[in-house]
């Protein structure tokens, strides 16, 4: 986990900002080459997400929960931080969510984010049927897999209309299986 990364050269600035706030933030580093336009203006490689309700430590725990639910080793922390930002926004407008999150985080203990994966999995399995876990699972799937970072990571090419669809960009470029006879497919119009 890279939340509150110590080596961050912008740490001082973040600390000052954090000092002025009562709520938390998540910060981190982006691996070179990631597409992170959403939260880190190029060419900066450091990112920071402000939280409106949750404290930094709570945010770090939730980020670890999200990564344990959907572990993709080379996917940037920044993508998981967006899950936390979304759930923080929910908590800001819904008291019930706020209570559920607070209770859930405190139940996992302050060292949850620092524990190894198998310990985190064991801890989450124990609370799998709880509203806290189910809320986190749903939010993780909804937000994480819709981020531009996830699209790039999993190879999904996104919006296609402005590029003319895939008609001339590989919709039929699979050649490791036999070609389909024309009568069972159809002509490629161009």
């Amino acid at each position: 986990m890279k939340a509150n990364t110590k080596e961050n050269p912008d740490r001082q600035q973040f600390d000052r900002r954090q000092f002025l706030k009562t709520t938390g933030m998540l910060t981190g580093w982006v691996a070179a080459g990631s597409s992170l336009a959403a939260i880190a203006p190029a060419p900066a490689r450091a990112w920071a997400i402000d939280l409106t309700v949750l404290a930094s430590a709570e945010g770090a725990t939730l980020m670890a929960v999200a990564r344990t639910i959907a572990p993709h080793d080379k996917l940037d922390d920044a993508a998981y931080a967006l899950v936390v930002r979304a759930i923080d926004a929910d908590a800001a407008t819904d008291e019930r969510t706020r209570k559920v999150l607070r209770a859930g985080v405190s139940g996992l203990g302050g060292d949850f984010a620092r524990r190894d994966e198998s310990a985190r999995v064991t801890a989450l399995k124990k609370i799998e049927s709880s509203e806290f876990f189910q809320t986190m699972r749903l939010k993780t799937l909804q937000v994480l897999y819709a981020t531009p970072m996830a699209y790039a990571y999993f190879g999904y090419e996104g919006e296609a209309f402005s590029k003319g669809g895939y008609l001339s960009r590989g919709f039929n470029d699979l050649h490791w299986l036999p070609e389909v006879p024309l009568e069972d497919g159809g002509p490629v119009v161009s």
Binding site: A70, N172, L174, E179, G186, P187
Partner: protein, 522 residues
């Protein structure tokens, strides 16, 4: 565009602008009949369709609250969302994936073909197949269906090549890119498919038939259509003679309006159509409109569905290309030796991110779950579309414990699966798994049953008024000037994706209504 007076008691009011309502509106207005078309949703356009999955979903989907009961997987896995259909001008034809097969002759004689099956309420259709076929031909011309008339098939996509190779290994013969209401060449003033993928986001090319940009603008051009968007029907009223005479609805400001009507056609998709009839109860009709048979909302069918995913060691990029352009039709037969009655289609499918993990995969989390998504590039997808059997207690009822934005009870959807339903799904999943395994899949993943996209039979046509809600023209048995014009009227669902049948029946109903109006019969 016409402006029809609220007090005009000669107007035909159609509720819902999808495959049934939109087509009917075009047909009636082109015959010189004044139509008020009420649509609960907003109007989108090719330009306004979003290709961001979450945005497209919220732009188009019916998200008003509903509840569920029963033992089917959807009630457990998607408790707040029994069905996935649209709330927008054009209805579910905006997000549909455009598969347009015909029912087979034996499927419209389900009761005679399958015999008596305990726990079901099977009937035969009150329409002869020859008669239905005439309107299938008209519907196919109207919609531009591939492999019909002069419309070539769609070209084979990567995802289809995988399906095709697997199907051929299993010895299937009827495998092709489908009868799709998607232009493979320019047709009817609309362009051809450029293989954008994810047809559910709305087709920005307009290559896929949708009433939004075909029937509805054509109806507007007649000068006889008064389309009222963001207008949610809440009640159909009747006079002392029992005939319906007005539709009460909420306009976009939430203000109640009352449109007088000479004839009313309900086409709100099978759940809302049944709900509206039930909500319209009165002293004269205490069980709701057209419900003397107690059949309104009953016999709810949704077709047997389910995902099968194959993970391969080479890329497929299943998102590239028309989502559903591929079908195996060999299993569309009634062969009880397979352990069930009725048939099923194997259809091509791809899901976007994040819909794949949210809807397409079995519940899970952690390493194993994530490893499937790690293979998104190498994932091929299939979908079942099979016949489910009608059951009297699989039904839409009003749930007074949960209210909508206007304080009205929401629909509760109750489904207990029949053993035949489970047997079809199991057989289909087995065959589809074998297809992928036969060509070297590293892993096959069986997905859950998603929210129902084909909602049917809740106001079904029946020869005997005791068995259903309408006659063979969608005219309710009880009330002569009240018609049902959507998938609710299908007597049984069959294994064909239903839109072509809904359009065919709407074309037929339009002829009947205009004939009856001319003769002063309605």
């Amino acid at each position: 565009m016409a402006t029809i007076d609220f007090k005009d008691d000669t107007a035909v009011v159609i509720i819902g602008s999808g495959a049934g309502g939109g087509t009917l509106a075009h047909e009636l207005t082109s015959r010189g009949i004044k139509v008020v078309l009420l649509e609960a949703g907003k109007r989108q356009s090719l330009d306004s369709f979003s290709q961001v999955p979450g945005e497209a979903f919220s732009q188009l989907t019916w998200l008003d609250p509903r509840t569920q009961t029963g033992d089917w997987g959807v009630a457990r896995d998607f408790p707040t969302m029994p069905a996935w259909h649209c709330k927008t001008v054009g209805g579910t034809t905006v997000h549909w994936t455009a598969s347009a097969p015909r029912l087979r002759p034996w499927e419209v004689r389900a009761q005679s073909t399958y015999g008596k099956i305990a726990g079901t309420s099977l009937i035969d259709w009150p329409i002869a197949y020859d008669e239905l076929e005439k309107y299938y031909k008209l519907a196919e011309l109207r919609m531009g269906v591939t492999r019909r008339n002069d419309m070539p098939g769609l070209p084979a996509s990567n995802n289809f090549k995988v399906m095709y190779a697997g199907a051929k290994k299993l010895g299937y013969n009827q495998v092709h890119t489908g009868h799709m209401a998607i232009n493979s060449v320019t047709y009817d003033g609309r362009g051809y498919c450029i293989q954008q993928g994810f047809c559910v986001q709305g087709c920005k090319m307009g290559a896929k038939w949708s009433t939004l940009y075909t029937e509805i603008p054509d109806a507007e051009a007649t000068g006889n259509l008064d389309l009222r968007i963001e207008s949610t029907a809440t009640r159909i009223e009747h006079g002392p003679d029992g005939r319906v005479n007005a539709v009460v609805y909420r306009d976009r400001e939430g203000k109640e309006q009352r449109q007088k009507a000479g004839l009313v056609c309900v086409a709100g998709n099978a759940i809302e159509t049944a709900r509206l009839l039930l909500l319209s109860e009165s002293v004269k009709y205490p069980r709701g409109l057209a419900n003397s048979s107690d059949q309104v909302g009953r016999n709810y069918c949704h077709q047997i569905t389910g995902f099968v995913w194959g993970i391969f060691d080479k890329p497929i990029y299943s998102w590239r290309g028309a989502t559903l352009a591929g079908v195996v039709e060999d299993e569309v037969v009634n062969n009880p030796q397979r352990g069930f009655v009725g048939g099923y289609r194997i259809e091509l499918l791809a899901l976007d991110l994040p819909t794949l993990p949210l809807v397409g995969l079995p519940y899970g989390w952690g390493r194993d779950f994530a490893s499937i998504i790690d293979n998104y590039r190498n994932l091929a997808g299939l979908f079942i579309n099979g016949e489910d059997l009608p059951r009297p207690d699989n039904r839409i009822t009003l749930n007074s414990n949960v209210k909508d934005a206007y304080g009205l009870p929401v629909a509760n959807v109750h489904v207990d699966e029949h053993a035949n339903d489970r047997a079809i799904r199991k057989h289909a999943q087995g065959q589809m798994s074998k297809m992928y395994e036969a060509i070297g899949a590293k892993r096959v993943v069986l997905g859950p049953v998603p929210p129902a996209t084909h909602n049917l039979c809740t106001a079904r046509m029946s020869a005997d008024p005791r068995d259903g809600v309408t006659n063979a023209w969608g005219q309710t048995h009880d009330i002569k000037n009240l018609f049902i014009s959507d998938g609710s009227v299908l007597s049984t669902p069959g294994a064909a994706n239903p839109t072509l049948t809904i359009v065919a029946l709407a074309l037929r109903q339009a002829e009947y209504i205009s004939r009856q109006m001319k003769a002063g019969e309605v």
